[in-house]
Symmetry: C2
Subunit: 181 residues, 2 copies
DNA sequence: CGATGCATGTAAGCTGTTACATGATTGC
DNA sequence: GCAATCATGTAACAGCTTACATGCATCG
């Protein structure tokens, strides 16, 4: 059984939770998620779903009576197996260290800016991050434990991450200010 | 002036710091960085550098006396401008929310596993994360403030991030255990 | 009855990966 | 002298984005 890519894993996971679920609904859910790494573009989703269907991981039921040509998707037994394998793949150190943060990668080169610019930029980003944190908190409120336990857990992860980035930028700011000497 | 992509920005940044710097040295530095989102593959780096040179952002000095055909790179005034613009781009909310964490994305679907499997996986990952944190701390030690202030800041970001992920997984674990009921 | 949103899909292009190719240098 | 590493580069391929195309449904 082939390994699922990140987007494939997420797609199969969403389908398994929301089934029956149309491709469009899947795209909208990806779009709505606060840390949207993917644009959930049609050009990515539709070929991906065809692939998954060809391999028997998902199944679509053609309903000719549906004028809009909706094709509700559901997961197969094979798909469920692949999903479980994908989840367990996280027990792989290389996957764990693969996160990439455009904020942090820029910190390495912040010295290219003048001291005043550094501070101005950091302050600006700090307010943006505060906004982002507020959004993440709202997402948690929209996904209470009572609703779906694991969705709640995922949402909480967003808040913790946002908080840690704010903490990080704050230490950066104070250290830059001290650097003035 | 064209916007730089993430990898381009990092490449120009490293060249600007390490100049004169060969393409190979650049790749090795990318590889050595603890959160290696990129494999720093030759097929990505060399075409990218040609592109940057064609656009006048970097300059290479051909030394025919160098048997290995090393071509030391340095940054141009245009390149410096582009680097500054790239750094300032972080003041863009969409860029800020673009981080993607394979751990968190799997949490949404952890319910697909049996309760025992959930706990076993989380415990396993927790030890992996502890190792990752130790690596990040060592990276900080290898990049003291005295050496390069901003590199130190970047390294510290890795530690803070690793800590926050551990904190996250711990809350996940305790909540899963409570869920047993 | 026209704008907006639902719903599917395709084509071109960019960027990255893997795998390969080539040759020089260093260390044992 | 041979293996490993340094150093550059290319070709085939994979995956995602943007932009486009098509048509149905709903709401004012």
């Amino acid at each position: 059984m082939r390994k699922l890519s990140e987007l494939e894993g997420v797609a199969v996971g969403i389908i398994s939770k929301r089934q029956p679920c149309t491709a469009y609904a899947l795209r909208m859910e990806l779009k709505a998620s606060p840390s949207s790494h993917w644009r959930a573009s049609a050009g990515a989703i539709y070929p991906l779903l065809s692939r998954l269907e060809d391999e028997g991981l998902i199944r679509s039921t053609d309903d000719s009576s549906d004028g809009r040509g909706r094709r509700p998707l559901s997961i197969t037994r094979e798909g469920k197996k692949a999903l479980k394998a994908w989840i367990k793949e996280i027990a792989n150190p290389t996957l764990l260290s693969e996160i990439f943060d455009p904020l942090r990668s820029r910190m390495f080169f912040l010295g290219a800016l003048a001291h005043k610019e550094q501070i101005a930029l950091a302050e600006r980003v700090l307010t943006d991050l505060a906004l982002h944190l507020e959004n993440s908190r709202q997402y948690v409120r929209q996904n209470p434990v009572s609703d779906d336990f694991f969705e709640h857990l995922g949402a909480v992860g967003g808040v913790i991450n946002a908080e840690s980035r704010i903490k990080y930028l704050k230490t950066v700011l104070t250290q830059i200010r001290e650097q003035q000497t």
